[in-house]
């Protein structure tokens, strides 16, 4: 499956001009500041807004081209809005059933029971929407969307209206979706943090134009893009659990560039895990330091350097082909004689497990 979308929208004060080719699998995040056109693009893809002249093909099917416009209720998608928007006159169970009842039996791939248990809302079924908390409402809205067994799930900042605590409550459910269900997701967000946790593929949008598209680990570490210069800049590394150390209560994870050790977790051996390596937590040495408290050291080569302000540089490294960022002072970079292709050792002070 593949998604081809071309839209030219001119609404006077706002323009959107995109020509996208998105993978029809995993989570594709559309990232950009507010007003960059993320929601407009998503609504155009869903058909909630009809912009003449647009062209949209999803998995070989034409949803829009020329005079042909498939109305939203005939597109096999589901949409989670920023606010849960549950139907106030129906209880949770009947909200969940609303879409399900309108999908032919032959197309049922996600059962109601599965949607309910994935989002952990068994205990809410008889409740009225107004009696639910914000987080519960959004979970019901996500389950309601899943229950139509969509071929494409669209989420428009589903966490934006929730506070930090509720975000942490819901994020794991969203992460679980694309692992448990094989449904491609288009996820709109303005938060690089959320995207780092969820996305496989990234579209950077700014002022209605696509700045960059590509796999998340590429885009996050590209020195010509603003994300790498952010104070929270980080690289994403996909690894898998290779062992647990019971004595010291640690877990080892392997990736193409070596091994990373984190505090013991409950992931089973062999299971995939996503790691976040913050640029400011990665330091560089020319020789392998053996007498150090840092556990995570691996070989890498310098793949690019860009200055950040007067005192600091961001170094892009490749460790076994996997891009990693390191933020060090310009002085250190000069003293180490860093240049393209130079082999170094990357020392990682702290690693966050995102899975």
């Amino acid at each position: 499956m593949k998604i081809e979308a071309r839209f030219r929208i001119n609404r006077g004060d706002f323009r959107l001009d995109v020509d996208l080719n998105l993978p029809g699998q995993g989570v594709t995040a559309i990232l950009g500041p507010s007003g960059s056109g993320k929601t407009t693009l998503l609504r155009a893809i869903a058909g909630l807004e009809h912009y003449p002249g647009g062209k949209l093909k999803v998995g070989g099917l034409c949803w829009q081209e020329g005079k042909n416009f498939v109305p939203p209720h005939q597109r096999p998608l589901a949409y989670v809005f920023q606010e849960a928007s549950l139907f106030a006159h129906l209880n949770v169970h009947r909200n969940l059933e609303y879409g399900l009842k309108r999908v032919p039996k032959a197309d049922h791939k996600v059962s109601l029971a599965q949607a309910i248990s994935l989002l952990g809302i068994e205990h809410l079924l008889e409740r009225k929407p107004e009696t639910l908390s914000g987080g519960e409402r959004q979970r019901v809205a996500i389950a309601r969307a899943l229950a139509v067994s969509p071929q494409l799930l669209m989420m428009d900042e589903p966490l934006a209206s929730l506070d930090i605590k509720l975000k942490q409550e819901i994020l794991p459910y969203i992460e679980m979706l694309h692992q448990k269900l094989d449904i491609p997701v288009i996820y709109v967000s303005h938060s690089p943090d959320e995207v780092a946790r969820l996305a496989d593929y990234l579209v950077l949008l700014e002022a209605g134009r696509v700045v960059a598209t590509g796999p998340i680990h590429e885009i996050l570490t590209r020195l010509d893009l603003p994300l790498a210069s952010d104070s929270e800049a980080a690289a994403i590394v996909e690894a898998f659990v290779s062992g647990h150390d019971e004595t010291y209560h640690l877990t080892h994870l392997d990736f193409a560039g070596g091994q990373i050790t984190v505090t013991r977790n409950t992931l089973p051996l062999g299971s995939p895990a996503r790691l976040r390596l913050g640029a400011r937590d990665v330091s560089l040495t020319l020789e392998h330091q053996s007498r150090t408290s840092i556990l995570n050291i691996f070989r890498a080569t310098v793949d690019g350097i860009t200055e950040q302000g007067n005192a600091q540089v961001i170094v892009r490294l490749l460790a076994g082909g996997v891009p990693i960022l390191s933020r060090i002072t310009r002085k250190s970079a000069d003293e180490l004689g860093l240049k393209m292709g130079k082999p170094v050792f990357a020392q990682v002070k702290s690693v966050a497990l995102l899975t």
């Binding site: 869903a46 909630l48 109305p71 939203p72 209720h73 005939q74 998608l77 589901a78 949409y79 809005f81 606010e83 928007s85 549950l86 139907f87 106030a88 006159h89 609303y98 879409g99 309108r102 999908v103 929407p129 107004e130 309601r144 969307a145 139509v148």
Partner: protein, 226 residues
């Protein structure tokens, strides 16, 4: 106590109000829906026309209706060429007059209710495979239900209270076009204050209890709103 003529005036009145309300709900629902959705530039023109009976003296409306419906008016002439009786001084004429006269009392609450529903629930329903008609019946109408209740009661109550329009186009035919408000006027003219008291009392209580129901139920409905 109530005479037989009084009772038949009550029956005519209730019949007129019920019929008018039903017709107005049938006509007013699609009209109000359309007005709550459309981005048409000249919507305000239509809104002004519908609201006209709110400010127009009923006798003026009644006069124009009489001219239109009478044998020499455009509608009346058309009826005559079709071999039908002119509508002036008939119950049908009365219904037509009442529908126009009570229109804003039904259309405005419905339009407000549909507007309050907003676009979002309907968009959600669209992404859940509901067709436009499906969305209208399963989302818009249930969410606008308090508005339907208000519209029905106001349309009904307002029709019961009309006087000027009825006087102009309905005349005063007992059992056919004589409604409560006219009967009361007749009693007062004839100095039969006791009869006028009885009928006025019926009208007062009826109106009061209907409004009581609107306010009580609207309060309950509001709790249901998100």
């Amino acid at each position: 106590m109530l005479t037989e003529a009084d009772l038949s005036a009550i029956v005519v009145t209730l019949k007129l109000a019920t019929l008018t309300t039903l017709i107005l709900l049938l006509l007013g629902t699609p009209l109000a829906w359309w007005m709550s959705r459309t981005r048409w530039r000249f919507k305000f023109l239509l809104e002004a026309v519908i609201a006209l009976p709110l400010v127009l003296p009923p006798t003026v409306l009644g006069f124009y209706l009489l001219v239109a419906l009478g044998p020499k008016g455009p509608v009346g002439a058309l009826m005559e060429t079709l071999g039908a009786r002119p509508l002036a001084f008939t119950f049908t004429g009365l219904v037509i007059g009442s529908v126009i006269y009570s229109m804003p009392f039904v259309v405005q609450p419905l339009q407000d209710a549909f507007t309050a529903v907003g676009r979002r629930p309907l968009e959600v329903a669209a992404t859940l495979r509901a067709s436009p008609l499906d969305r209208f019946f399963t989302i818009a109408i249930p969410l606008a239900l308090p508005g339907f209740f208000t519209a029905s009661v106001l349309g009904f109550a307002h029709t019961i209270g009309e006087f000027g329009v009825v006087l102009m186009i309905g005349g005063n035919i007992p059992g056919e076009t004589q409604v409560l408000s006219i009967a009361i006027y007749d009693h007062v003219e004839a100095m039969e204050y006791a009869h006028a008291h009885w009928l006025s009392g019926v009208l007062l209580l009826l109106s009061f209890f209907m409004l009581l129901a609107v306010y009580a139920l609207n309060h309950r409905f509001r709790v249901l709103r998100p």
